[in-house]
C-alpha cells in the first residue's frame, strides 16, 4: 500500500498545492500501522515524527498528576498531529493513542523542516493550522473552567439544600459567587444552565433541586 495522495491532499499543510507539488511533498512520508489502544506518542517524550491519520481516529490527551485523562482533540483521516513538538523541537505536549486500528503516514522532523523550507505556501498553511489549534484549545479552556464552576455551584446547592423550608441558610448569588471563587454573573449563568438542563427549577426566591444525581455528577466531574 502506497501513501494515498487523496489523504495527503486533505492535510492542512498542503492546502492549495498543485498536484505535482503534492506528489513531491508526499514522497518522504512513510506508513505506519498501529493497533487499537497503542500509544503513538507519549507526553514528555522527544518527538521524532509528525503524523497524518490515513484511516481511523487518534486521541490526543493529557494525564493529570492524579491520573485523570483530558482529551484535547481527536484526529481523523486527513488530520495531522504531533505538529507542535516537531515544529518547536520540544518534547511532546500530549500523548496520542489509537482509538481503533489506525493507519498513519509519518514524516520525520528533518523532512518536515525541509518541506517547510522548500514550500513557502506550507509555511503560510502552518500559521493557519497553528492559529486554528490555539482557537480550539482556548474554547476547551473556557469549557473546562465553566465546567469547574458549574461543579462548584452544584456542590453549593447540594450543601445548602434543606428538606424543608427554613432549615438551611438562604444564599444570594453574591454569596454563591464568593463560595465558588467566581464572579456573580458566572453563578447566574451556571444557574440558568442548570435550569435549562432540568437539574433545578427556579421558582422566584426558591431553587428546587429536581435532579440530585445530575448535580452530584457535576460535582464529581469538577474534582
Amino acid at each position: 500500500m502506497a501513501v494515498d495522495i487523496e489523504i495527503i491532499k486533505q492535510v492542512a499543510y498542503f492546502a492549495g498545492f498543485a498536484s505535482d507539488d503534492l506528489e513531491e511533498a508526499a514522497k518522504p512520508f512513510f506508513e505506519q500501522t498501529v493497533k487499537r489502544g497503542e500509544i503513538i506518542a507519549m507526553e514528555g517524550d522527544p518527538a521524532e515524527n509528525l503524523y497524518v491519520v490515513a484511516s481511523g481516529a487518534v486521541k490526543l490527551f493529557k494525564t493529570s498528576a492524579e491520573g485523570k485523562e483530558q482529551i484535547l482533540y481527536l484526529a481523523h483521516a486527513g488530520e495531522s498531529f504531533n505538529d507542535v513538538p516537531v515544529i518547536d523541537g520540544l518534547p511532546n505536549p500530549a500523548s496520542a493513542q489509537a482509538m481503533g486500528p489506525v493507519d498513519l503516514y509519518a514524516l520525520s522532523k528533518v523532512d518536515m523542516r525541509a518541506l517547510l523550507d522548500k514550500y513557502p505556501k506550507a509555511q503560510k498553511n502552518t500559521t493557519n493550522l497553528l492559529a486554528g489549534r490555539i482557537r480550539t484549545l482556548s474554547l476547551l479552556v473556557e469549557d473546562l473552567s465553566f465546567k469547574h464552576v458549574i461543579g462548584r455551584v452544584a456542590g453549593i446547592l447540594l450543601k445548602y439544600a434543606g428538606d424543608d423550608v427554613g432549615s438551611k441558610p438562604r444564599l444570594t448569588q453574591q454569596d454563591m459567587a464568593a463560595m465558588a471563587g467566581t464572579a456573580r454573573e458566572v453563578v447566574g449563568r451556571s444557574l440558568k444552565m442548570l435550569e435549562a438542563d432540568g437539574s433545578i427549577k427556579m421558582n422566584r426566591h426558591r431553587i428546587v433541586i429536581s435532579n440530585k444525581k445530575a448535580l452530584e455528577g457535576m460535582v464529581e466531574m469538577a474534582t
Partner: protein, 68 residues
C-alpha cells in the same frame, strides 16, 4: 404576602439605580427613601442586587430538594 428582596437601609445611599433597573416597578423612592413594594410581579431576576454599587440589596435563594 409576596416574598421580596431585602434592602439594607443603613447601607443604601438612595442612588436610585435599583429603581431604574427593576422592570416590575417593585422598587420606588418615597420621600427619598428606597421602598420595596410587595408584588408577585417581581420574578426574582436579581437585577437590583446586581446593580447596587454598595451591596445593599440581597435577593437570597432558599434551596430545597424536590419532594418525592
Amino acid at each position: 404576602m409576596a416574598e421580596m428582596p431585602y434592602i439594607d437601609l443603613e447601607k443604601c445611599d438612595c442612588c436610585g439605580h435599583c429603581v431604574e433597573v427593576c422592570k416590575c416597578h417593585a422598587i420606588v423612592l418615597v420621600n427619598n427613601i428606597i421602598t420595596i413594594i410587595e408584588t408577585e410581579d417581581c420574578g426574582w431576576c436579581t437585577e437590583c442586587e446586581a446593580i447596587c454599587p454598595i451591596g445593599a440589596i440581597s435577593c437570597a435563594f432558599e434551596i430545597v430538594f424536590e419532594e418525592g
